[in-house]
């Protein structure tokens, strides 16, 4: 899942900060619970859990990031 985020085009990477959490660790589990996630892998954008169990296609992910970026900057 993290790989699908890391390979996003540079102009999209410039819009976001990426944080990856290791579910083997206590901080990873704590973050998972804070986000009220239930499955793995999971992706949250701006604290909202967007994708659970599924790895989104790149286009879908880019669209969602752009949409949120636009909302925040209008």
């Amino acid at each position: 899942m993290a790989e699908s985020v890391k390979v996003l085009p540079e102009e999209i990477q410039a819009l976001i900060d990426i944080h990856e959490w290791d579910m083997r660790t206590r901080p990873g589990i704590q973050r998972f619970k804070e986000l009220k996630a239930r499955s793995l892998p999971s992706v949250a954008l701006d604290e909202d859990l967007i994708y659970e169990s599924i790895i989104p296609g790149q286009e879908e992910l880019i669209h969602e990031i752009r949409r949120r970026h636009q909302i925040k900057n209008t």
């Binding site: 579910m23 083997r24 206590r26 704590q30 996630a37 499955s39 793995l40």
Partner: protein, 316 residues
Amino acid sequence: MSETEKKIDRYVFPTHGVCPPEIHFQLAGGVLKNVRFVGGGCPGNAQLVGRLLEGKSLDDVLKYLDGISCRNNTSCPDQLSVALTEALRGSLKPARSFRLFSDDLTGTRIGLIGELDGNRDLLKTLISSIRGQGVDTIHYLGNTVGQSQKSRPFFRLVNQENIRVVLGERDWRCAQGEEGGNFPKLTRKERDSLCLFPQVLSFRLGEKTGMAFYGRYLLSLEDFSDFEPFALEMNMVCGLTDLMQDETVFGALEAMVSQFTAQIVVFSQRESWGHWHIKDVDFISLGKAREDDRLSWGLLEHGDSGIRFRVMRDNL
């Protein structure tokens, strides 16, 4: 790093030729702390040695310890000297945050006992009942220190009957001298005896690897690492699933079990009986040994069809 922030490494040294089977100590930037001769010997002298050495640098203490003879051409100070020298050389590695015991016996039937609160009489009754079922080993996951019980007879019985004890939270706190409330104050010897029980037990059942632990307190131990043996299993049971009570995250648990070392995970802090089979892993929660007028224990078997777990109940 400042003086107060120096990393503290904890060591457990198995002795040779002296009364205490282990010496526990800590090293912080070349300074010795919390020396304990555990499990035997002259407690008064051992405490004095510990106090005299507290906070001293290794350079200062080593010259006093070497070459003292008491028995078998060695002594407690001499063994401490060996331990410190090995720690300095790196041949003695820092101990894990928890004490792990690996049971080499491979059996097909294991008797599991949950919380007994140190009740020796109940343990004796349970042992007799469990032995009647032809088990290979008995594991007890709970506290040996109870409100009104003396710990020594309980220790004696588990040793006589070769019961594998996995230390409960109260026991651990008592071993650290933190006991309070209604619990009896333990002697130093009793506290040292508690220190010798494992906090995590690994075992074999048929071709499966199992691990047993009490519960959450292990995750808050000083120096607990998420990458110690069986830490993942404990993080998943205690942290992720809240002792298997939060079924909404079982999907995430399923994704993680492929990284487990153990295929059987036993714990007892929940104090209610439960068995979950998730992918290839069996999770077993032990209930209290006494429920109203009945005694309960778990029978874990390995057969042709895999793992089988049953709760056995006897009227008192």
